[in-house]
């Protein structure tokens, strides 16, 4: 999956930091994203992944540092929307409960494109088809769909805006394993077909291994390791990355190694 290395940079985060009162949620995070590539952001709960994602889409403003979209022309909220869209962990609450899935998909089309009603509805049908939802499911209210169907609808809604970048914050974490696989395959196909770039936030290393080309490992708001996904996961340099890898239950899994990793990390903290 390293075919992406030759694309131009579509997103550059430089020295991103975010303070909530006295909590340092994100601390001096920098990375860049090339067209058609997929950046994994991994780390345990509370490591600042969601805050980083929210700063990329503009839902939080950085306390310091910047998010740039090189080559972008649009400005303001509408302009940014054409550049970057986000899929949230909870697909249920990312829809207005009162309107049907098809209406929810049509709404952003009306905002961003100067199309006729027929053209918008044709596009909605196309989007539904792309993520494997039927017309009947499109006419349904969000609460009548399953979690996986809603998440696919959320993906379709974001795709309609044709962003250059899609930020996914634990987008498959709430789904059953078999549904997870479906959505991941869908996402991977979309990336190959459209050249869209992903920022893929996850605590699940198996998922990150499948869907991302590059990865940054976050701990307590800082990036402790960054590189190509294959390389980082095969030969982790930082003890925290090793610990994350060791924490995944698999054949030959050793709880003692996890414990030793924790101890090693804790002793590092004291000396630093």
């Amino acid at each position: 999956m390293s075919d992406s290395q030759n694309g131009e940079t579509v997103l550059r985060a430089t020295g991103l930091s975010k303070l909530f009162k006295s909590t340092v949620a994100v601390d001096d995070v920098s990375f860049s994203l090339k067209r058609g590539s997929s950046l994994g952001v991994v780390g345990e709960s509370g490591s600042g992944k969601s805050t980083t994602a929210r700063m990329i889409v503009g839902l939080e403003s950085p306390s310091s540092g910047s998010v740039e979209f090189p080559g972008a022309t649009g400005s303001g909220r509408r302009g940014r929307a054409r550049l970057v869209q986000m899929i949230f962990q909870d697909p249920f609450h990312s829809f207005d409960p009162r309107i049907t899935i098809a209406e929810a998909l049509e709404e952003p089309l009306r905002l961003h494109f100067d199309w006729s009603r027929e053209r918008r509805q044709a596009r909605v049908a196309e989007l539904l088809d792309q993520v494997g939802l039927s017309t009947r499911q499109g006419g349904a209210l969000p609460r009548t769909l399953s979690g996986g169907q809603r998440q696919r609808a959320a993906i379709a809604r974001a795709l309609g805006i044709e962003p250059a970048i899609l930020v996914l914050d634990e987008a498959v974490a709430a789904l059953d394993v078999s549904i997870q696989a479906q959505v991941l395959v869908l996402l991977d196909n979309i990336r190959r077909d459209t050249g869209m770039s992903y920022v893929f936030v996850s605590h699940d290393l198996a998922v990150v291994r499948y869907i991302t080309t590059d990865v940054i490992v976050m701990r307590s708001g800082r990036v402790v390791e960054a590189g190509q996904t294959e390389q980082v996961l095969a030969d982790p340099q930082h003890p925290y990355t090793r610990l994350l890898l060791d924490s995944v239950p698999r054949p030959g899994w050793d709880l003692d190694r996890v414990r030793r990793g924790r101890l090693e990390l804790d002793s590092m903290k004291e000396t630093s």
Binding site: G58, H93, D96, P97, R98, R157
Partner: protein, 292 residues
């Protein structure tokens, strides 16, 4: 288990599931009563048996008779006719209060929740100050300043009730805007105003409807009280409150009839409105609980 008990058990479940979606008999009765009162008030000029200010001195302070179905008051005016004509003012004045209160309360509550910060603080404190004032006292003050009539009390009551609606709308909007769909719409490029108007407002509208209904009930009672004190509706116009006030002399002469009917009209209408309002607000809190 016999077939009969199975049937009974099934009937029981059916009734229980139906109760959740269908309004109770009390609510249906309330809606019917309000419908009748509303229709009667609209048709009043056509269906009144007598002119509301025509006096029948020979039959004054009378109980129900075949000539005067609900009797007459101390000056011999037909109670049924006055009740029907009085329904117009009795319903219109609280309706005006409910409309003003709901519109302004919704606007303030939504703006406070959505704009937040210093604006929210100022609006919330202002509402707290008005909230601390007894509404009826506010209306009395307005009448003292602007003289009797309905306009001053309508405005004063609306002002007094605005904090009730404003606070409820504000907290409903704060709860609503914390939902992730608000963030996802911002990411999709929609302005805060568009999100407020197209998504947050429609989602809290049921709360608003319930509050408007309850406000109507309170306003009706307060206006009746003002009219009873001679500060609201001025003669020769009549509403139910002023009818109660004017029948006091008849009561002193031993005729309870002329106070019974306007009193009943106020009590039953307010009860019906409150039953409806409570059921609407219950329904909404049930709906929001099951959606969570």
């Amino acid at each position: 288990m016999s077939l009969d008990t199975v049937g009974l058990a099934l009937a029981g479940t059916a009734r229980r599931t139906r109760r959740r979606t269908r309004p109770s008999a009390l609510v249906v009765a309330s809606i019917a009563l309000l419908g009748i009162v509303a229709v009667a008030s609209v048709l009043a000029p056509v269906i009144t048996p007598y002119a509301p200010d025509a006096t029948d001195i020979l039959n004054s302070s009378a109980g129900p008779t075949s000539e005067h179905l609900l009797g007459t008051d101390g000056t011999g005016r037909d109670t049924l006719s006055r009740l029907l004509i009085g329904a117009q003012l009795s319903l219109l004045a609280p309706l005006a209060v409910a409309v003003i209160t709901t519109a302004v309360g919704a606007l303030l509550g939504l703006a406070a929740a959505r704009i937040g910060g210093a604006f929210d603080m100022i609006v919330s404190r202002a509402m707290d100050i008005v909230f601390a004032f007894p509404t009826l006292l506010l209306a009395l003050l307005a009448v003292a300043v602007f003289g009797p009539g309905l306009t001053a009390p309508i405005c004063a009551l609306a002002l007094g009730y605005i904090p009730f609606v404003g606070r409820i709308v504000r907290s409903a909007a704060i709860q609503e805007q914390a939902k992730p769909y608000v963030g996802s719409h911002a990411v999709m490029g929609f302005s805060e105003l568009a999100i407020t108007v197209r998504h947050i407002f429609p989602n809290i509208a049921p709360v608003l409807l319930a509050q408007a209904t309850l406000t109507f009930g309170y306003a009706m009672l307060d206006i009746a009280a003002l009219s009873y004190l001679g500060l609201g509706v001025q003669p020769p116009a009549a509403d139910w409150g002023s009818m109660i006030a004017q029948s006091q002399s008849a009561v002193l002469q031993g005729n309870l009839w002329s106070i019974l009917f306007p009193g009943m009209a106020v009590i039953l209408t307010v009860l019906a409105v409150n039953v409806l309002g409570e059921s609407l607000s219950d329904r909404f809190s049930l709906a929001s609980r099951s959606a969570r």
